[in-house]
């Protein structure tokens, strides 16, 4: 990759970060191209040099975060740990992201309302991959006799749902610190699987 390309890639990432910020603040629907550009002291026109339209920008935004999360989880999955330990750590990682990337993350309840056909498919695919890691951990746990659960998919849904909801109420100035919260969630949500 040439210097130029690197620079452009970096700029793209900056834009995505800016977009994430704005989305986190205002939500997908309220995030305007103007806002996103202003955050970077650019004009909205410039964004179109990097992304072909708003949807693509939003999509890439969503994708980036999901990819980062995936990486962390994949890594975790390969470690030599008990399923319990893995699940607890996975929950913490997930919460980490949910808290950090308020709104940009998994939480677009209804991608249909934001993305068009073409991207929806990809969004769902990515999500399934992501959730798949949790499924694999559960499978592992069940195989090893660590977890006792019949409704594996639903258990995963409960865990992720509970964690996602944190994004709605958590505030760094609230009663609980992030680490404390993660600890507690990991502990209690695990019970679902036991």
């Amino acid at each position: 990759m040439s210097l130029r390309e690197k620079k452009a890639a970096k700029k793209k990432e900056e834009i995505l970060r800016s977009a994430s910020l704005v989305i986190a603040r205002n939500g997908y629907k309220n995030a305007t191209m103007e806002d996103i550009a202003a955050e970077l002291l650019m004009t909205k026109g410039s964004l179109y040099y990097y992304f072909k339209n708003k949807e693509e920008l939003l999509y890439k935004c969503h994708e980036l975060i999901l990819s980062c999360a995936m990486e962390r989880l994949e890594e975790l999955f390969l470690e030599n740990l008990s399923a319990r330990e893995k699940m607890q750590r996975a929950i913490k990682v997930h919460l980490d992201i949910v808290i950090q990337e308020k709104e940009v993350f998994n939480l677009i309840g209804k991608p249909e309302q934001i993305f068009s056909e073409e991207n929806i498919v990809k969004v769902f695919q990515k999500r399934d991959e992501y959730a798949g890691i949790f499924d694999r951990i559960i499978d592992e746990g069940v195989a090893r006799g660590e977890f006792i659960i019949d409704q594996k998919k639903m258990a995963r849904m409960m865990i992720l749902g509970a964690a996602n909801w944190v994004q709605v109420w958590y505030s760094s100035e609230g009663q609980y610190g992030k680490d404390e919260l993660e600890e507690i969630y990991a502990k209690y949500l695990l019970k679902i699987l036991l």
Copy 2:
């Protein structure tokens, strides 16, 4: 209440129902006054006779559903049941609403993005009241020794969060029927409290 007023009240409710439908279909942000009116074979102008603006309409919509839910829960709370039983039933009621009123319910993650100051306060108040019933059930359970839990608020958040997420993925044509789903959720989420 005069006949006039009764009629108006009835119409208001019709509008709210229509709005709920549209919101369920398209989401808060995508629900236009036009859509809502069309559903009732009215014109959007007429809506302003009953509600002073879109926000009020949406707010009342949200309020209505929350109130209905409250009623069912209050009733339940007063019944003579074990805390476990109450919690399981409460979860089922909650899921019932979540599934039925996809999107209109609790699930506005960020009311700030939809409502203005004045209404946000009221929204949060209502929500707290609603969640309060779950808290009371938990308190009861702890008092009676049925539940063992230190982080009561968080436990409630987990339960409601997990249940709310159902709204994202549940489809009546999916693998699980509504009753079956409720049964499973009630069973596993209860474990958090044990």
Copy 3:
């Protein structure tokens, strides 16, 4: 048709007329919704109450004029006249429209550059119908031995092309009056068919 509908229909026509004016002045591509609205002391937003988008407006505009022209020609065709006389009169009618409706008429050389698939088809259809009347006159003339021509389609193209071009250079303040011009064109273009 109710009074309301009549009024709306009238407004639609007014808009089309305004659009025709603007198109005539600035061309299809340069005609902005703003311009069209301003002509009627409206705001551009209002136009969307009557037409779903710019293309539809332009299309209807084109259609209206073509329809009016068709009517005049159809009528003419049914009169009891020699083919020569009919053709001369048809040429005059055509010139009349070309001059009056500078630009809005037949003359969108390349509808593909203005209309989308759906409308292009209809445009071409209408045009063919229109040109068809000239073809029928030519056929009649040939059948009666008034015209001697092998390449009927091409002859029609020549006649209409020559007439259409008038729109490019004709000015009411120029050397020739409209009637005079029509007379001359009718006379000379007829020669092509003899």
Copy 4:
């Protein structure tokens, strides 16, 4: 002319050719600087090294083609032929260009919509020169008694108009080949002058 200048001149011509292509494909208004540059594997910024703005580029484009056409006609005019023969050949040359240079040629019905004052004058001048050759042929024919016509200017307009219109409907895959078409047009349009 230095080597530098020669190179630049060559490049300019390449750009004009590319522009002609794009214009032919998309029309004047739809031809973007980007398109024109892309055709040459350049970036649009570079175009401004050779032309001060889009209008100049378009103007030069138009001029180039008109000049080429002029040359061919001038040559033809000087040949020792009857006026009839000359006119027929001139029509063929004109059609040749019309067909080849679809859209870039004479056919900008309304230069006012594309060019600004300064260039419009020059465009009209060039056009008049071009049309002037046809006028001279007609004059010659009338002088020699080959043509009988009072309205010389109009006759010229008819001939050129009819020929220009070919550009609208002609397709190389259509019923007629180019040569055949030219033959027919030359034959029939001549009749106007007889």
